[in-house]
Amino acid sequence: MKTDLLVSVLKRAAERGATAADGFLVEEQRFSATVRLGQVDTVTHAQDQRLSLRVFAGKASAAASTSDLSRESLERVVDEATQLARITGADPHAGLPEPSELIDRVPELDLEDTSADDLTPEAKIEVARKAEAAALESDPRITNSEGAEYFDRRARYAYATSHGFAHGYATTSFGITVSPVARRNGDMQRDSWYSMARKRASLEDPVSIGRTAAARALRRLGARKVKTTEVPVIFDPETAASLLRSVASAVSGPSLYRRASFLLDRLGSRVAAPAITIVDDGLVASALGSRPFDGEGLATRRTVLVNDGVLESYLLDSYSARKLGMVSTHHAARDGSGVTVGTTNLMLLPGSATPSEMIASVRNGLYVTELIGFGVNGVTGDYSRGAVGLWIENGELTYPVEEVTVAGNLLDMLAGVEGVGNDLVLRDRTSAPTLLIGRMVVAGD
């Protein structure tokens, strides 16, 4: 762990006149292998590191970072950041958290798996090959492929502050993705499936990933537009998770203090149907979004954002909390350039209905399996995105649908949730079960 390096950088910042400072160091090693039609396509080896520094000159602050950890480079970074801080104006809300708020012990979350260390590149390539082969062999209509990828990533993080905090942790992650192409007559459709995990042994079987990917591409063959209509819409778990991300963004500190959120001034009030409970839990053992402390050294915890439809908490780092006259919810995150607000394992808790019961409850509607585009206005909640899916008729999935949009307003959509599935699986950092929304506009012909 290079916490010593961070501590020496912070010391130099103090010598240069910084009244407080914190530093974050990430070192990572990545390997990725892509196989296409059975042949190796691209193999990538990578090694990266980045030290980012935030300095305060009283109530003024600045940030700097470098990937060059040589002594001269680090000295330059410290000098540049302290100079920058001197020319920026004072911000009464700037500053580190109080030392008493920082964790003193790093919880063990079981985020590392070293079992891939002895795997040869050939063995890893073979995993991708196997996954793609399963897709290609599963049906004669799978005629082409955008390839299959295996990746692993190993990262070490260290965080230190000028008031004496210095801790680190390590994580690994593994993933497999398969993107087959199905063809029938002139119609060509691509889809994909994936698995990601902190532990290699927790990855789904490559053969089953390949088969799922193939089935997803096949069910899109023959897709067509539908007539413009207003109907119930069911979001599958993957697309439902994207709705959750929009909610998280609307309750994050920067959106709120900028007054750029459709959930502004709604704390304590009903913002969704009673069936909706949204939780951010950074302490789930071995989960992809877990971390022992946030980007400012505050303890990770479980936060209930929405409880039975009532908005109970925002997502705040210490800056946005001070600005809103509140306290941090321990959601500071580091991106390459500074401190932001980020979620850990964000999830919508499951209900009791099975997805097929939910589909069976719809006479005429759309089952959405993919969304494209950026048509979400976080300020008003206005929502309009391109959708792909299957048409529901008399409680059954029928023909595939494409080139349509689904539109509404997120407040109405959240209030209009009529069913929450029992199929929550933590496949990614943000996860949701199947969701049924009573009415949305589907635009087509």
């Binding site: 090694q47 980012s52 003024a60 911000d91 082409n144 900028r258 349509v404």
Partner: protein, 481 residues
Amino acid sequence: MTEFALVPQRFFSDRFNVTPSIMDDLLGSALRGRVDDADIYLEYRVNEELVIEEGTVKKASRHVSQGAGVRAQAGTRTGYAHTDDISLGNLQEAARQAHAIADRSGASAVAALQPTRTPHDLYTLDEPPTVTELSRKLDLLRRVDAAARAEDPRIRQVIASVASEEVVMLIATAAGWVVGDVRPLTRLNVTAIAEDGGKREIGSYGGGGRVKFDFFLSEDRWRRFATEAARQAVLKLGAVDAPAGTTTVVLGPGWPGILLHEAIGHGLEGDFNRKGVSAFAGRLGEKVASELVTVVDDGTIPNRRGSLNVDDEGTPTGRTVLIENGILRGYMQDRLNARLTGMAPTGNGRRESYAHPPLPRMTNTFMLAGHDDPQDIIRSVKSGLYAVAFGGGQVDITNGKFVFSASEAYLIEDGRVTAPVKGATLIGNGPDALRRVSRVGHDLAMDEGVGTCGKDGQSVPVGVGLPTIRIDGMTVGGTAV
């Protein structure tokens, strides 16, 4: 060696002791396993960003990143290794890793050729934007903030930022080509939030390019960006629901050219076509658009955000005709896909940074002007949508379906532009949408210089351009049924 290598070459040899002869030796060792192509790419990048919110500095940051990527290719296989520690030992290790992949294959011989074009000189600046004093930038941001607020009392919040970058790159290829580039880039962005009786809306505007900081001061650009952001936010406060369903759409000039980027641009990138996964694969010479439509990708326009003297594989950029009078004429190629399909590289091999292998990407993509008067085009529509500003877009290149989201649009009723409508996503089918272009205006404009394109997790700056056009029938994803 070209003269365009001299400055970057001196930079990397002074700073890291890496000279072209060392790069050549490394390529020699990467080539010993018989590969078709190989290169070493060195990069040094400085990014600086200033953001003000509520008139105070929210963010002042400066980031330095550097690294090297070594690539070896045999057949369709690519080995790529990168490191952010540019030292001989690390480069040797990267070359060994990249080479290992090609080694297994048994490729033919060194097939890569030197480019035939010479590099351009599109953005030499006497004062790069990263060098301009921060105090001048802060001063401008404060004036932007004041100008946006002065535009309308309903403007409650202004976020303004200046981001500046300089990239020094040097590439040496197996064919013995050594070329470098120094690339400035800057952008001024303004976001305004308007509030009126509990209703809130957001407007954004900005621009830039491979230009000096003074670009924002000339022609009072900064003031225009500020007032445009404010005007958009206030306008949207009174917007009505957008229609849902298929209607006639008129796109205004400039940034709505994002239509081309999504509808056909990605589908004409060489990798998707070589793999046969694009809706446009195998259709060269076919009619894919109305005869009014000619679309080019041009990386050689001076000072534009999407322009490059050489691409990230060292190939000088060019002007590639993609669609000529409706006929599909060309794809955008990097070296790998050009070699594998027997075509010439077009200078479209781009990468986000040393940490990414190059892919075929767009530069500045636009439609050539037609003859129609823009006002006549609007007057020709009985009922439809007039869209002048857009947010992002996305495409599924395999089935050709694309979307892009209008951020400023109006109803057209009886040939007149009437009420502003709420943001709505427009959706269409790439090989079909441009066939429906029935009018093309004489008012071609390029965007202000704000575009960023994502592909395979890699972001690169791009430009788009469009004259006013009429499309007979596009699906608008509104809520008014």
